[in-house]
């Protein structure tokens, strides 16, 4: 069976008359119907741009220069080649997105009701009364208590977390086949976060909605996803099931991420963090591994040649030279033992 969403060799470049550089390189992701897939990585690693590319919403200076993004519903469409109009049909119907910053998605001059019900008006056939009721139900489901009042309110009259939940309601109300959730719970406390994640789960069960969960929070990944891709500097560096990533992380970057969450929650003076920062695209290492400058295990080779995506075990790939070295060592040992 074809996956619902098939991102194949996606590359995104920055192009202006002054400069040109690569931002996102060789992203491959397959998401089946009903699957819950996570993308995790530090700030600036390219998570949001990857998701914006799916909906053809990249800022002007950014161009997809290779690869395709196929959506397999009744028919197969390459989302990259769709016109604005065709894309609008898909948005809100097949694919819905929860944006990282609610205020970018909410229009300050319209009421919540107007914005929440807009997708229903376009895609579904409901009476005014039915729509209103659906809106109220949805707001209640995302834990907004005074839903009648909030329907009439404007975005600035809501708290940060309420805005985020209104946006979630907007995305869920149209019961999409694919829900892209970019940091959907950053402004929410744990109780409501749990409620929202449950709600997404329910939707996934009842409508076979697949979820692409984008987050920097490994805890959210653990709670919700089946598979996860770890992104660094515009590339996927490790990909596998959630269990494998948490229990047998292979890539030095993933290991670093895991140790930094484990040190939080202890009231110590210094928190563990991976030394250095994610480079911005204009500073990506041109040759070799993009993580090399921050990697505690970097070897000469890491600065010279790009590591391949290496199958460390069944269904678990990691982009690091260490695995290749280890495999070669193993091979040498076995061949020596054999002779």
């Amino acid at each position: 069976m074809k996956p619902l969403l098939d991102i194949n060799r996606l590359n995104i470049d920055y192009q202006s008359n002054k400069k040109e550089f690569n931002i996102i390189k060789d992203i491959n992701i397959q998401i089946d119907e009903k699957m819950k897939y996570g993308i995790v990585g530090e700030s600036g690693s390219g998570k949001s741009l990857t998701s914006l590319a799916i909906l053809n919403l990249l800022p002007d200076a950014l161009k997809v220069d290779q690869g395709h993004i196929k959506l397999n519903t009744d028919s197969t469409k390459d989302l990259i080649t769709l016109s604005k109009k065709e894309m609008r049909k898909i948005r809100g119907n097949d694919i819905a997105m929860i944006f990282q910053e609610p205020m970018t998605a909410l229009d300050p001059v319209y009421t919540i009701e107007y914005q929440l019900l807009e997708v229903l008006k376009i895609h579904k056939n409901y009476s005014k009364k039915e729509m209103h009721q659906k809106g109220l139900d949805m707001l209640n489901k995302v834990g907004i208590s005074r839903s009648e009042q909030i329907m009439k309110a404007y975005p600035h009259e809501l708290s940060g977390g309420m805005r985020q939940r209104v946006m979630i309601a907007m995305a869920l109300i149209c019961e999409p086949k694919l829900l892209i959730a970019d940091e959907p719970t950053t402004a929410l406390d744990v109780t409501i976060q749990a409620q929202i994640l449950d709600l997404m789960n329910d939707l996934s069960e009842s409508h076979h909605t697949a979820i692409l969960m984008i987050t920097h929070d490994l805890g959210v990944i653990l709670e919700t996803c089946e598979r996860v891709a770890v992104m660094y500097a515009g590339q996927i560096v490790e990909e596998s099931t959630v269990e494998n990533i948490f229990e047998e992380a292979a890539h030095p970057y993933t290991k670093g991420l895991l140790s930094s969450i484990q040190s939080l929650g202890e009231r110590s003076n210094e928190l563990y963090s991976i030394p250095g920062n994610v480079p911005t695209p204009d500073n990506y290492q041109e040759l070799g591994c993009r993580f090399a400058t921050r990697c505690p295990f970097a070897m000469d080779k890491c600065y010279e040649q790009e590591p391949p995506m290496f199958e460390v075990q069944d269904d678990h790939a990691s982009k690091c030279w260490l695995h290749v070295e280890e495999a070669q060592d193993d091979e040498r040992r076995t061949s020596r033992a054999g002779s």
Partner: protein
């Protein structure tokens, strides 16, 4: 902390927002976003405010800085009442008090480059010459994990977390005395978050800064704070030193909140006991009688519907508003 100097006193602060309705747009009621809260913030400490979405944390921060005119109550900054001072002296005091907004997207002027965004406050408050301002800008940008090459870029050319760091840099560059950080690190991954938290601590020691840290992330709050206040429906439910609050929470609401902290250890995931709160957060324009938490409280009894619990010092330096502790 032995000698505790109070920098900020919040007394009976209230902020009600009118709800307009009907064809005539008459006021039909009020959202009691902040409803009579009092607390002190001590010099050089990190005081955190936690509580569910919509409980009034941001409104409290904004009302302290008069970005929302308080409906009632007083706010004293180093003994001076911010509510009565004249506009001009308030503006003067304001540079000592910075707010990092919850939504960096709407608080950064999209037409200014990062360099301009950071230099502007220094120049308007006449705290530096253009040359010094530029040096400070470079230094600050690097401290928040960005680089000088970013100085000529505009806010929309950054990722969400990068934008959040720009707002942090912009607030800290003024070396204020009091900084209100509203969900300032919530969009950041653990690694950069640790880096920023370490930076905040380091600046706090270096410049004797006082922080009011608003966050829903109880792990971060535990790590960073000296004292924590727990809000619910516009009111303060519990306030204590961090350790006392986390090790010995008194209020049923605090207990539920703490039990819900997601585990980062997959093995713990199954055997952790959670207190699931029943029901929704009540409507702040029509709060329940008695204790605001009673409709969701597993310990609620008759008295809770009848009397508003007093806010009392149940243990030394440990305040709580719950009938269970007020026999």
């Amino acid at each position: 902390m032995s000698e505790e100097q109070v920098v900020l006193e919040v007394k009976h602060l209230k902020k009600y927002f009118p709800i307009k309705g009907g064809i005539l747009k008459r006021t039909q009621g009020h959202v009691k976003a902040v409803d009579d809260i009092s607390f002190d913030v001590r010099e050089n400490e990190t005081f955190s405010l936690v509580g569910e979405s919509g409980c009034g944390k941001s409104t409290t921060g904004r009302a302290i800085l008069r970005l929302h005119e308080p409906t009632d109550g007083d706010v004293l900054f180093n003994g001076e009442n911010l509510i009565d001072v004249s506009k001009s002296s308030f503006r003067h005091l304001r540079k000592d008090m910075q707010l990092i907004f919850q939504d960096p997207y709407s608080s950064l002027n999209p037409r200014m480059t990062v360099k301009k965004l950071l230099m502007e406050p220094l120049l308007t408050h006449k705290l530096a010459t253009p040359k010094e301002a530029e040096e400070k800008t470079v230094e600050m940008v690097e401290k928040v994990g960005l680089s000088t090459e970013h100085l000529d870029r505009y806010p929309h050319e950054f990722s969400g977390g990068q934008r959040q760091r720009i707002s942090i840099a912009r607030a800290l560059i003024l070396r204020p005395k009091l900084v209100i950080l509203d969900e300032a690190v919530s969009a950041l991954d653990v690694s950069i978050q640790s880096q920023i938290l370490n930076l905040l601590k380091q600046l706090q020691e270096e410049f004797q800064l006082t922080y009011i840290f608003i966050s829903h992330d109880l792990n971060v709050v535990k790590h960073l704070s000296d004292r924590v206040g727990v809000m619910y429906l516009g009111q303060m439910m519990e306030l204590a030193e961090t350790e006392a609050l986390y090790d010995n929470p008194l209020h049923p609401y605090t207990k539920a909140l703490l039990s819900a902290i997601p585990s980062i250890n997959p093995k713990e995931k199954e055997n952790k006991e959670r207190i699931i709160l029943q029901g929704d957060v009540p409507d702040p324009s029509d709060p329940p009688s008695g204790c605001p938490f009673r409709l969701r409280c597993p310990m609620a009894h008759d008295r809770c519907a009848e009397e508003i619990p007093r806010y009392i010092e149940a243990e030394r330096d440990h305040w709580v508003a719950c009938h269970l502790y007020d026999e």
